[in-house]
């Protein structure tokens, strides 16, 4: 396509161009940038020490550890699912594919509280379908780590699939066919041809999944009971600290989460460029 032409450029008048910029960028500044900047200001209002102390308190560190644990379990699990599912959806026609597609989209549209409640009801030890049976086997799901993991998996389920599907579609089957003619079996083809070709899409999906798991609040709140030191992830820690009027603690943890968020944004951007290359 030729260089952008002189004609048909809306807003090419000085006035309208600047009006759009003020409107759009102003909105962004007030809505997104200001809050981001605010976190850092508010946290270090009284210096570096107070928030540092709060975050390195026992509860704070436990919260951080728990958050990372969620990521360590939910992300790989959803990644494997995501890649397998993507391959099935893109390369194998099936009547049930539309249904699978629809179910995968559900976590995007459901309220985290609804998700938390659904899990709560399922695993509740009095009346839930699975709860009592599992309790007899000595497995505590609610108010404990397993429940939180399930919640994390539910909310972050779609990302790897959604990011892998288009990449898989785009690369087409020719390379894989070539590999077959050269004698590669399914597993070899997958490892050596398919996976390398889709790796940036998968990586992008992994970053999104991680961000989602780290940031999850609503569903995990209901499922875990927010028991300090035991079932409190970092976002939950923020909430609880705030409710206990311990602003410093809340903000300290917020900064950590904000930094993780910025890292995520950076990773997203770098990966986006890799994907396009």
């Amino acid at each position: 396509m030729s260089a952008p032409s002189a004609a048909g450029r809306v807003g090419s008048g000085r006035g309208s161009r600047w009006a759009l910029r003020v409107l759009g960028l102003g909105f962004l500044a007030l809505l997104l940038v200001a809050p981001l900047v605010m976190i850092f200001f508010k946290t270090f209002e009284d210096g570096l020490m107070p928030p540092l102390e709060a975050i390195t308190s026992e509860n704070g560190l436990n919260a951080l550890k728990l958050s990372l644990l969620m990521v360590a379990i939910a992300v790989p699990v959803n990644t494997v699912f995501g890649v397998v599912c993507a391959i099935l959806l893109v390369r194998h026609k099936w009547k049930g594919n539309a249904f699978i597609d629809a179910v995968i989209n559900l976590p995007f549209a459901l309220s985290p509280v609804v998700i938390g409640l659904a899990l709560y009801l399922l695993y509740s030890t009095n009346g839930g379908w699975f709860g009592p049976t599992l309790a007899e086997a000595g497995i505590e799901v609610l108010f404990s780590v397993p429940g939180m993991v399930l919640a994390s998996i539910f909310v972050s389920l779609p990302f790897v699939v959604r990011e892998t599907v288009p990449v898989l579609q785009e690369i087409g089957t020719e390379q894989e066919q070539a590999a077959s003619t050269l004698g590669a079996n399914v597993w070899q083809t997958f490892w050596r041809v398919t996976l390398p070709a889709i790796r940036w899409g998968v990586a992008y999906g992994v970053v999104l999944t991680t961000a989602r798991v780290l940031g999850e609040f609503g569903a995990v709140t209901i499922v875990s009971g927010t028991i300090s030191g035991q079932t409190e992830t970092l976002p939950l820690f923020v909430g609880k600290q705030f409710e206990a009027f311990n602003e410093t603690g809340a903000y300290g943890a917020s900064v950590v989460l904000a930094l993780l968020a910025l890292t995520t944004l950076l990773a997203m951007n770098l990966l986006k460029r890799k994907e396009d290359a």
């Binding site: 397998v84 309220s111 409640l117 839930g128 986006k272």
Partner: protein, 308 residues
Amino acid sequence: MEANPAALPPSAASPRAGMRLPGVGVGIGRGYVVMYLSLMVLIPLAALVDESLTSGLGNFWDQVSSPQAVRSLELTMICSLIVVAINAFFGTIIAWLLVRDEFPGKAAVNAIIDLPFALPTIVASLTLLALYGNESPFGIDIAFTRTAVVVALLFVTLPFVVRAVQPLLIEMDREMEEAAASLGAGGFTVFRRIIFPNLIPGLAAGVALAFARALGEFGSVLIFAGGLPDTQVSSVFIRSQVESGNETGAAAVSMVLLLASLLCLGAISLIQGWGSRHERSTGGALVMPMAGEMPADTEGEESDDERA
């Protein structure tokens, strides 16, 4: 071929080749996927449906029509509608700026659009409170009001609209705009009659998704708007019902939200179906969040089989 990756992809070019698992493998794969989804998603939701009806349909209706429940649903719906309307407007402008304008720091702006996707909602709530609450450096105090609900929802849903419209603008056929100019149309007319109509499908899908998200939003609203009777959105209401032991009531109201979500997803599906049939791209909704380009929609050059 309609390049909408989120729509159900038809089996790629040759159904018999490519990264295919052997027959047995496909069976196992499908079994795994179905079981995984059932275990993680479907069965919990089934439990939810079950609980909401456990005391009968009458009780279900009572729960859903209780004054508090109704108030929360009304508030949630109205605020969500307001929010998507505002974001449709600003989101389109921002997408426009990102695609058609040049200014220093554009890459940073493009990156920051995804902030609400990356930042935990509870943190968002906290800082909105600090920014626009009673210690506000701007002197604006809207905490614990319905405006707070709107602002919080604006925050979390903005990226949906921007990322839905952006790819459409990128792949828009500039020549249509040039043709319109050669026919005498000025800048705004070109936007109104040529560009905007082609953005509508993608915008609609983005709005539907943003709406679904807004309906269920919890974390960002919780601290900033609080759970006062006047500012209690449905998700907060549901949680309070759980805490006071009224699980059936919580489940009932959850069902309403669930149905609303399903309707939104259905709407998006319809829009994308319409888009494929009319060779119109529906852009980035449901393939979000993604910063930037989509695979280009290559217009197939049809062979001409009629006599000129």
